[in-house]
C-alpha cells in the first residue's frame, strides 16, 4: 500500500524534536513530487483520473515536441562510427528526449529504484560496447543489433520512469 500524506506527517512528527528550518516541510513535499502537495481532501479516483489525464496530455505534448525537436541533437548515419538504420536512430533520439523531459523524482520505491538502476546499468554496458564497436570497421551487423538493444532498454526505462512519475508514491 502506498504511503499517504497523513502517514508521512505522522512519521515526521514522531522524529526526535528540534527546531526545524521554516522551509523543511515544503522541501519534503517537493521531494515527494508535485502530486501530493494538492488538496488533501481530494478523493483518490478523482486525483488518479486527473493525474492520468494530465500525464497523458503531457506525454502527448512531449511526443509531439520530441518529434519536432529531433533533428538538431539526433545522431545520424553520417556521423563517424555510427552504423544503424535511420529508423532506429530516430527512435533512440525520441526516447532520449522523452526521458529528459520526464520530471525528476526524488522519492522512489525500492523496486522502482532497483529496476531503474538495472536498466541504466544495462544501457551503460551497451554504450560501452557501442563505443568500442565504433572503433571496429567490420562489424555493421553488431552495431545495428546493439542499437536495437539500446532502443529496447530506453523504451523500458521511459515506461518505468513515466509510470513512476504519474503514480503518487
Amino acid at each position: 500500500m502506498h504511503t499517504g500524506l497523513s502517514e508521512w506527517s505522522a512519521r515526521l512528527a514522531a522524529l526526535p524534536g528540534f527546531e526545524p528550518p521554516a522551509d523543511a516541510w515544503p522541501a519534503i513535499l517537493a521531494a515527494r513530487g508535485p502530486h501530493e502537495s494538492g488538496c488533501a481532501s481530494l478523493r483518490w479516483p478523482t486525483a488518479v483520473a486527473a493525474v492520468v489525464l494530465a500525464a497523458v496530455a503531457g506525454l502527448a505534448w512531449l511526443m509531439q515536441s520530441a518529434q519536432r525537436e529531433l533533428a538538431p541533437a539526433a545522431i545520424s548515419m553520417t556521423d563517424p562510427g555510427v552504423v544503424a538504420s535511420a529508423a532506429i536512430l530516430e527512435q533512440n533520439a525520441r526516447l532520449e528526449m522523452l526521458l529528459a523531459a520526464l520530471p525528476e523524482r526524488r522519492a522512489m520505491r525500492g523496486s522502482t529504484a532497483f529496476t531503474v538502476s538495472q536498466l541504466e546499468d544495462r544501457l551503460a554496458l551497451v554504450d560501452e560496447r557501442l563505443s568500442r564497436i565504433s572503433m571496429e570497421a567490420n562489424a555493421p551487423e553488431f552495431s545495428e543489433r546493439l542499437w536495437r538493444e539500446r532502443v529496447d532498454l530506453m523504451n523500458s526505462l521511459v515506461q518505468v520512469r513515466y509510470a513512476d512519475a504519474t503514480n503518487p508514491l
Binding site: 504511503t3 515526521l12 523543511a24 488518479v48 556521423d79 555510427v82 520505491r109 529496476t115 531503474v116 503514480n167
Partner: protein, 316 residues
C-alpha cells in the same frame, strides 16, 4: 414535502452515508491496489528486458571486441562514443548513458572529448588507452568542446563491475561469470527455478528520498538518501527516518544510485552502511541475505508427501 418526509430523508442520508463512504473507500483501495500491481508488472517486464538484453547477441559481440578492440575493463564514463573528429580534434560523444557518471557530470550528446586529465585524446583508441589507467571511482577532468567552445567537467568514473552485476542471476552470460550464481539443478516434476534478488525480496516496499540541502537540514545531513519507509527486510536494521550517508564507503546520490551500490553485494558479503539516526552517526553492518529461489509460473506443484501408515491397532 412535509416535515415527516424530510425527517425520513434526513434519516436515510444519515444511515446510508457511512456505508456509502465505506464502499467508496473500498473502491479507492481496490483501485490503488490495482495501480500498484500494474506498476509492479511493468517493472518486472522491464527487468526482464534488461536481463535478456545481456544475452541478446552479447557473447559474439564481446568476444569479437575483446579480440580486436581491447577496451577499458575497470572503470567507465557512461558515454557512447562516435568516431574521431578530423585532424585529431577529439572524440565525439554520440550519446550519454542515462544515470551514468558522464550524465551526472553534465556531459551532453554532441560534445567532443579533447582531453582527459590533461592528456589529449584524438581518437577512440587513445581515449581507451587513457581510461585503462583510471581507477574505479577516480575523478577525472574531461576537457570538452561544446558548440565550438571549451568546457571542463569532472566525472567520477564508475567501476565496470557494477555494470557487470546487472547481468541475469541465472544466465550463462559472457562476462562476470565468476559473479553469477550456479544454476539450480533441474528437479523432477518442477519447473525452471529463478532467483529473485535479495533486494527485490526485502527492499521492494522501501521508500527512498534523495536528500536535498533543504531537506537535509532537518535530518542533519547535506547529502545522502533518506529512508522514508524502512525495508521490510530487517537484516541491516534500517529504520524510518534514517539517512544513508555511505554504503561500503560510497556515497549514494539517489534511490537508484543506492540500489546500484547495494546490488553489487552478493549474498553473504558484508554490507556496511554509514547512517544518520536522530542526527547521530551510526554504522550498520550485516551480511547480505540470500537470493530467493522460486519456480516459474505454471510449474507443477509437488504433491504433499503421503501420510505415514497408521500404527497397527493394538490388541483390544
Amino acid at each position: 414535502m412535509n416535515k415527516g418526509m424530510l425527517a425520513a430523508v434526513a434519516m436515510a442520508v444519515l444511515v446510508l452515508a457511512p456505508s456509502m463512504s465505506l464502499a467508496q473507500e473500498a473502491k479507492d483501495a481496490d483501485l490503488e491496489k490495482r495501480l500498484e500491481e500494474a506498476q509492479q508488472r511493468l517493472e518486472a517486464a522491464a527487468r526482464e528486458v534488461a536481463e535478456l538484453s545481456a544475452e541478446a547477441g552479447g557473447p559474439h559481440i564481446l568476444k569479437m571486441l575483446d579480440m580486436r578492440v581491447p577496451g577499458p575493463r575497470r572503470s567507465m564514463l557512461g558515454v557512447n562514443l562516435g568516431g574521431a573528429e578530423p585532424n585529431g580534434g577529439g572524440v565525439k560523444v554520440n550519446g550519454v548513458s542515462p544515470g551514468g557518471p558522464a550524465a551526472e557530470a553534465g556531459v551532453r550528446a554532441g560534445d567532443v572529448i579533447v582531453a582527459i586529465d590533461g592528456q589529449s585524446v584524438g581518437t577512440g583508441r587513445e581515449l581507451v588507452a587513457v581510461m585503462k589507467d583510471v581507477e574505479p571511482d577516480q575523478k577525472v577532468v574531461l576537457e570538452l568542446r561544446r558548440d565550438g567552445k571549451p568546457v571542463k567537467v569532472t566525472v567520477a568514473a564508475r567501476p565496470m563491475d557494477q555494470v557487470f552485476f546487472a547481468r541475469p542471476l541465472m544466465g550463462e552470460g559472457e562476462i562476470g561469470a565468476m559473479h553469477a550464481l550456479p544454476a539450480m539443478p533441474p528437479m523432477h516434476g518442477m519447473g525452471v527455478a529463478h532467483a529473485r534478488h535479495w533486494l527485490l525480496e526485502g527492499w521492494s516496499d522501501a521508500e527512498l528520498v534523495t536528500v536535498t540541502p533543504a531537506l537535509g537540514r532537518y535530518f542533519g545531513a547535506d547529502k545522502g538518501v533518506l529512508v522514508a519507509r524502512a525495508p521490510k527486510d530487517s537484516t541491516l536494521g534500517l529504520q524510518d527516518g534514517d539517512v544513508i550517508v555511505a554504503i561500503g564507503g560510497r556515497e549514494p546520490q539517489s534511490g537508484p544510485h543506492a540500489m546500484r551500490i547495494l546490488r553489487s553485494y552478493q549474498p553473504g558479503e558484508t554490507v556496511e552502511l554509514r547512517i544518520l539516526r536522530d542526527r547521530k552517526a551510526q554504522t550498520l553492518k550485516a551480511a547480505a541475505p540470500e537470493h530467493k529461489f522460486e519456480h516459474g509460473a505454471g510449474a507443477p506443484v509437488m504433491p504433499p508427501p503421503p501420510e505415514p501408515p497408521r500404527a497397527p491397532a493394538g490388541p483390544t
